[in-house]
């Protein structure tokens, strides 16, 4: 049976179907502010009903990209197509997108229901219809009892819900979420992430979320675009991004990872043909089973995630490949996981994470212990970029 990358969230992958038409298309978008290029010749397709994340550090251009879709900024070059129509020059108040702001931007002088009704009133809907829709939204975000309150009288989590209800009330074609959960504490944030996914599925809308929190992006998204300095580094599903990053940057940005620089010593792989790629990293022999275009002598990076590295005091049978020996330098106890920082003889540190599967351990590995780190051939990954 062929191996796949991680669990599949839902049977939804229009991006793999060449016949499907993108709902939103960013076409060669460049945005400059003075001398600063925020977004650099970027092309990106987003499909209908997709939950799409723009992920990257602050200043990578993700918010600028979203603001261009909302209409608050105009691209310097390129165009944005929504359902095949160029929306350049259309003012924000005429675009079928709605945004949930990072600061929530609730109108402080209006009650919760007035805030939610605000967008509907702009469309000159009948009063009865507005009332039903507001009620519907209040129910959706479970704030029925708070309809008459002012934003200042609500908690952070409640305000976040009002902001969500307000941006959903007009049933936008695309909902834009700018760091929507940034101000919430961890527990509430996780809860809300699942609620967001629920709402997105129920209403069948397209969600575009901007975040710097990789866990959030992994949890909610169908696909993630990892951005850096105005360009997209990789667009893929959460599992692909995590298990098959295409570059050092993406590998390092998402989750925890050991990166060993080295040179290719032997390769059985070529374009379209997976095979074993051996790498020498300062005397340490590592290998990965994958498709790789690098040839012998190429300088590459070898990446392996800590949770895929086994730690043991016993010497493994085969120490010639994917095995490192060293001293436990530091231990991070996270409850569910323990992270061991192992210092090899040449001073490099390799991290191994071990799930704490039982409460009591016979002979725990501790500071100063000499240990062996091993991992399998499909745990590691060769990165050429």
């Amino acid at each position: 049976m062929a191996k796949t990358l991680g669990p599949v969230k839902r049977k939804f992958s229009p991006w793999t179907d060449p016949a499907s038409v993108p709902f939103i298309r960013f076409e060669n978008i460049t945005k400059r502010f003075g001398n600063f290029t925020a977004v650099d010749n970027l092309t990106l397709d987003i499909y209908e009903r997709e939950f799409f994340s723009l992920l990257g550090p602050s200043g990578c251009g993700k918010t600028t990209l979203m603001r261009m879709l909302a209409g608050f900024e105009e691209p310097t070059e390129g165009r944005i197509l929504l359902q095949g129509k160029d929306i350049s020059g259309v003012p924000p108040y005429k675009r079928p997108t709605n945004m949930m702001f990072q600061s929530y931007a609730l109108f402080p002088h209006m009650s919760v229901e007035k805030n939610i009704a605000f967008g509907l009133k702009q469309d000159n809907l009948a009063k009865g219809e507005i009332d039903t829709r507001v009620e519907e939204m209040l129910k959706l975000v479970k704030l029925e009892q708070f309809a008459k309150r002012k934003p200042a009288q609500l908690s952070g989590g409640q305000r976040q819900r009002v902001a969500l209800a307000r941006s959903l009330a007009k049933r936008p074609k695309v909902l834009l979420l700018d760091e929507p959960l940034g101000a919430l504490d961890k527990k509430l944030r996780e809860e809300t992430q699942f609620e967001l996914m629920d709402i997105q599925q129920t209403l069948g809308l397209t969600f575009l979320i901007v975040t710097h929190d990789q866990e959030e992006a992994m949890t909610v998204s169908d696909r993630i675009a990892v951005m850096d300095k105005g360009i997209i580094m990789q667009v893929a599903t959460p599992a692909e991004i995590y298990e098959a990053p295409n570059s050092r940057y993406v590998a390092d940005f998402i989750g925890d990872i050991n990166i060993l620089e080295g040179t290719v010593t032997q390769t059985d792989s070529a374009l379209g043909a997976p095979g074993l790629v051996r790498i020498d990293s300062d005397g340490l022999s590592v290998a990965a089973e994958q498709e790789c275009q690098a040839v012998k002598g190429d300088h590459v990076a070898y990446a392996v995630r800590p949770e895929k590295v086994r730690i043991s005091q016993e010497q493994p049978a085969d120490t010639s490949l994917n095995a490192a020996y060293g001293e436990v330098w530091d231990i991070g106890y996270l409850g569910d996981f323990s992270v061991f920082l192992v210092k090899m003889e040449d001073g490099r540190i390799v991290r191994a994470a071990q799930a704490n599967v039982s409460r009591l351990v016979d002979r725990p590995i501790t500071f100063g212990d000499m240990v062996w780190l091993t991992w399998s051939r499909d745990a590691g990954l060769v990165l050429t970029r």
Partner: protein, 303 residues
């Protein structure tokens, strides 16, 4: 338990002192003078020094003293229509001026608040700059501009909008008074408005835009309601002193410009009727304080 006396405001005399200072100030420079004026307003005119009776005597004279006080000055205010007209005219001028100030000050404050951060201090400075010359000199300068053979006439004649025999007839009219008042009070209107507008979150307008509200509509739905505290503060800071304004109508206004400040001055200095003048002052104060107190109370209930 740690020693909590330091955190207890009731136990710390230094804290009381800090709180007491503004109250002491008000007592000394507002309540005490007001009580003196109020007492004079209940006295009778006399050709003496000071020009009213009774004057404070010893403790034994207190009952005599009280029995000599009466409200005839206040009754007189209702008998002569001059006073009622002066009060009404003052309120009218103050109301129109405040409205004009809002009309001119609001766009100014909004432009300042929306200006780039780098030039805001300069704009703020320009608003405050007139304070660097005496108020009186600035009003006198307006005489130079507005008088029939003044700078305005000259300017209009030079650019040909006015024939050589024509002259602007603004000086010594209500129009001149309005110009003087609006000019003098503009900073007092602009500053509170600017303070209210400057701290407003711009993303609120973006949110309104995003929800389908065009910018001009968003101004009335978001910006203006949120700046109301500034509008009220600015209007009060202007309306109250304008009602009692004396210098501007005296210097720029005509003989028929009726304002209570001028009437007050006439009673005090021309007629030497201190008791009646005091009554005029007390009524003016009540006229302004009572509605404001009611308004403040109402505001508290809303909040």
């Amino acid at each position: 338990m740690a020693d909590t006396t330091a955190d207890n405001p009731h136990a710390n005399p230094a804290r009381w002192l800090v709180v007491a200072v503004p109250y002491l100030w008000l007592l000394l420079f507002f309540v005490a003078p007001f009580l003196i004026i109020f007492k004079i307003s209940l006295s009778d005119t006399a050709i003496a020094m000071p020009p009213y009776t009774p004057v404070f005597g010893g403790w034994a004279a207190i009952s005599d003293f009280v029995s000599e006080l009466d409200i005839e000055n206040y009754l007189f205010l209702t008998e002569d229509p001059l006073y009622f007209q002066a009060y009404m005219s003052s309120l009218r001028i103050a109301a129109i001026s405040t409205f004009l100030l809002l009309l001119i000050g609001y766009p100014m404050a909004l432009a300042m608040a929306r200006a780039p951060n780098s030039i805001r201090p300069i704009l703020l400075m320009l608003v405050i700059l007139p304070f660097w010359t005496s108020f009186l000199i600035r009003v006198y300068a307006w005489i130079g501009i507005l008088k029939p053979d003044g700078l305005l006439t000259l300017a209009l004649q030079t650019i040909g909008l006015m024939g050589p025999d024509e002259q602007v007839e603004i000086f010594r009219t209500d129009t001149a008074v309005f110009i003087g008042i609006v000019y003098s009070y503009l900073p007092f209107m602009v500053l509170p408005l600017y303070a209210a507008l400057e701290k407003m979150d711009n993303t609120l307008l973006e949110a309104a835009n995003d929800l389908g509200c065009p910018p001009w509509k968003a101004f009335w739905k978001i910006t203006f309601p949120l700046s109301l505290p500034g509008v009220i503060a600015g209007s009060m800071i202007c309306f109250i002193p304008i009602t009692g304004e004396f210098v501007i109508p005296d210097l720029l206004g005509g003989a028929d410009t009726l304002m209570i400040g001028k009437t007050l001055w006439t009673e005090f200095f021309s007629n030497r009727d201190w008791p009646l003048a005091s009554a005029v002052a007390v009524v003016l104060l009540l006229m302004l304080v009572v509605p404001i107190a009611i308004f403040q109370n109402q505001q508290k209930k809303v909040a």
